[in-house]
């Protein structure tokens, strides 16, 4: 079991405001794996909503703030593939005008990992003990899958939980229709994409829908709840933490 590893949590705006239980589960899991967890105060948002809508000056200022906030962190762990992608692949470019800042952004990018990648790649752990039991289907969030090239780590972790029956989701790699401001700029299109996704989810017969991104969980969870579905949306961290999430 890993030890002597220190990790700072980047909770993300959606995680902080809407899914604090995901953050709590993440702390539980990381501590179970022997990681010393801390939480630098004053966190807000990574700036991705600004960035994606084209407000790059503004996004750069938010990025600069985040870079400073995590300057001392050994590892930064993020419960959302999209925010991790933002930090890892977009921050250095956003801050390229100032060489020192750019270097700091590159350093942060190198130290930052999405949760499942952190557990598997950095800690070298593929089996997390969890008393969770039930059937689970996994949705690949776009930025974790295509942005960070990760499809295996979350599945490996899920499969290695004794009580989990992992059911493959048809079209798991297709977008859930969230897309940040896209979901409210074109709500009908966003919902049509979501409906297709949720149809596939229900077809699996799984009790839980797992994902590694707060945005997707907000979208898919919002749809499941609206259609009074029995399927429960859960973040990977909640399944790994176990108990009765």
């Amino acid at each position: 079991m890993a030890s002597d590893v220190k990790a700072s949590i980047m909770i993300t705006c959606l995680g902080d405001l809407f899914f604090p239980e995901v953050g709590v589960a993440m702390v539980t899991v990381l501590r179970r794996l022997g990681v010393a967890v801390d939480f630098p105060g004053g966190q807000t948002c990574c700036g991705m909503p600004l960035y994606n809508s084209g407000y790059h000056e503004e996004a750069a200022r938010v990025a600069e703030r985040t870079v400073r906030l995590f300057a001392a962190a050994e590892h930064v762990v993020v419960p959302s593939g999209s925010c991790a992608w933002m930090v890892k692949t977009e921050y250095p470019g956003l801050l390229k005008k100032d060489p020192a800042l750019k270097a700091a952004a590159e350093s942060l990018a190198a130290r930052t990992r999405e949760l499942s990648q952190f557990i598997v790649e950095v800690l070298g752990v593929t089996r997390v003990e969890s008393d969770f039991s039930g059937s689970v289907t996994y949705h690949d969030s776009c930025h974790l899958l295509r942005g960070l090239g990760e499809s295996r780590a979350p599945r490996t972790l899920l499969r290695n939980i004794a009580g989990v029956k992992l059911l493959e989701l048809p079209g798991a790699d297709e977008c859930c229709g969230f897309g940040g401001s896209f979901s409210v700029r074109l709500p009908e299109v966003s919902t049509a994409i979501l409906d297709k996704k949720l149809g596939n989810v229900e077809e699996t017969g799984a009790e839980c829908l797992a994902a590694c991104d707060a945005g997707c969980l907000m979208q898919m969870g919002g749809g499941l709840s609206r259609r009074a579905s029995r399927v429960r949306p859960l973040h990977l961290a909640q399944i790994l933490a176990g108990g009765r999430p």
Partner: protein
């Protein structure tokens, strides 16, 4: 087309979502395309390396575009062809019309060409008294229906076979079954006569090889071959970026183009045209004209949309795009639909024309993933959005909202205040722990989805007790 554009994009998209036939046709066709493409690349381990190589060729060619275009023009002329340079759409149309006038052309058969769609050539020909006949089956269908293509390689993708049978029965005065084979046979019979009657054959070009002067057409129906060999005049309209240096390069592109488009190793027909009929040859046109068209492209060689010039027009990004798969091509409102279409529209018509379309993407990245030359479409869409803010094309209210959001993201105090405010304001709307109906802007979300409330205690607020393990 312009009438369609008077309706705002969200409404056009909304109408498409309600069209049951369109939904059925789109689901079937795009799913089939996706599966076929995937299977083609799974059985082709060198595919990834060839895609990199193809991208490299495009990059290098654009670096010396003037050189390769000059070489192409020289070689086409050396082989007896004529080369015309066209700045904009108007100029390109005028060149074709002048050829028709000077040579007494009454009818022109066409093989599928997005370049001619881009310049609305059919309308111009009709207005000048020349009858254009589309000979690609999909194009023929939409020509009979007086529509525009809704997909780059499958122009009639929005139609079910039942709709096509109805259309043929009405337009061709018969009673045809909704059977693709029957319908294809009907079209073949009609078109065969047209090939023989036409004075001019009009094509696009998938590639033009600079060092040999070869025009390359990739088709599946053999109509390209008829169009380039039966009429006495062949006119090819080509975007300038389609030039490639050599036949060796062509092999690279051919290996990935059909695989990306339809999952085929090669399309059924790859037609290579080198000059008009030569002395002693029995077939081929007497005249060959190549129109090299700029229409907004050259400016982008050093512009922000440069990468879009790599596009092979395979349509793979349309098939995987969750937005395209829901709304189809017509809702986009321009010649080129889908993710790449948004970029090409910006290139041809300017940034202002994609004010709404630039946001018609969830930035899921599936387009970039399947693009044979790995065009980073999501990045360019985000850059387009940035241009809309910088150019003050984005609505004033939106720009204010995002600037305010930036303040909230830069100040933890404001962020905390926002959370507290949210908790108070959401109270009247809470039902069983969910927000089911919110007013104003938030109603766009809650019309179809529940929203989780701002947590009673945010993670930041819970950290103090979590801190002590």
């Amino acid at each position: 087309m312009s009438e369609l554009l008077r309706t705002p994009f969200p409404e056009r998209a909304g109408a498409a979502l309600k069209d049951a036939f369109l939904q059925q046709a789109l689901t079937i066709a795009t799913t089939k395309f996706i599966d076929m493409r995937r299977a083609a690349f799974e059985g082709f381990p060198q595919g990834d390396a060839l895609r990199d190589r193809a991208r490299g060729i495009k990059e290098a060619t654009l670096q010396r575009l003037d050189h390769y275009l000059g070489q192409l023009a020289d070689n086409v002329e050396r082989l007896g062809g004529h080369v015309h340079w066209a700045g904009g759409a108007e100029e390109a149309r005028e060149i074709v019309l002048r050829l028709c006038r000077d040579r007494g052309v009454k009818m022109a058969v066409k093989s599928k060409s997005m370049a001619t769609e881009e310049i609305d050539l059919n309308e111009a020909l009709e207005a000048a008294g020349v009858t254009p006949i589309e000979t690609d089956l999909g194009e023929y269908i939409i020509q009979l229906a007086h529509e525009k293509p809704s997909h780059i390689i499958a122009p009639a993708i929005h139609k079910t076979k039942g709709q096509v049978a109805e259309l043929f029965s009405r337009a061709l005065d018969g009673n045809f079954a909704a059977d693709p084979e029957v319908l294809t046979a009907v079209a073949r019979k009609v078109l065969r006569q047209k090939f023989l009657q036409a004075d001019m054959g009009i094509t696009g070009a998938n590639f033009a090889v600079a060092d040999t002067g070869t025009l390359v057409l990739v088709t599946n129906e053999g109509n390209g071959r008829m169009v380039t060999s039966l009429p006495r005049i062949h006119v090819a309209v080509m975007g300038m970026e389609k030039v490639i240096p050599s036949m060796t390069d062509l092999m690279v592109f051919l290996a990935i183009l059909a695989r990306s488009a339809t999952g085929q190793k090669l399309s059924s027909y790859t037609t290579l045209v080198r000059g008009p009929r030569r002395l002693g040859e029995l077939e081929g046109p007497e005249e060959l004209h190549l129109i090299l068209m700029d229409n907004g492209r050259v400016r982008q060689v050093a512009g922000p949309l440069r990468e879009a010039l790599y596009c092979l027009r395979c349509g793979a990004c349309l098939n995987v795009c969750p937005v395209y798969r829901q709304i189809g091509g017509h809702a986009y409102g321009y010649t080129y639909p889908g993710p790449i279409g948004i970029l090409l529209t910006a290139m041809l018509k300017g940034d202002r024309s994609v004010k709404e379309l630039a946001h018609a993407s969830s930035l899921c990245g599936a387009c970039k993933d399947v693009c044979p030359v790995r065009i980073d479409i999501p990045r360019m869409l985000v850059e387009l959005r940035e241009g809309l803010d910088r150019g003050r094309i984005a609505p004033w209210s939106e720009r204010m909202v995002f600037r305010a959001a930036r303040r909230g993201m830069q100040s933890p105090a404001l962020f905390r205040l926002g959370a507290r405010l949210g908790r108070v304001l959401q109270r009247p709307f809470l039902r069983a722990g969910r927000l089911r109906r919110l007013p104003f802007f938030f109603g766009k979300w809650t019309a179809t989805r529940d929203l989780p409330p701002v947590a009673a205690r945010t993670f930041s607020e819970r950290w103090r007790e979590l801190e002590k393990p």
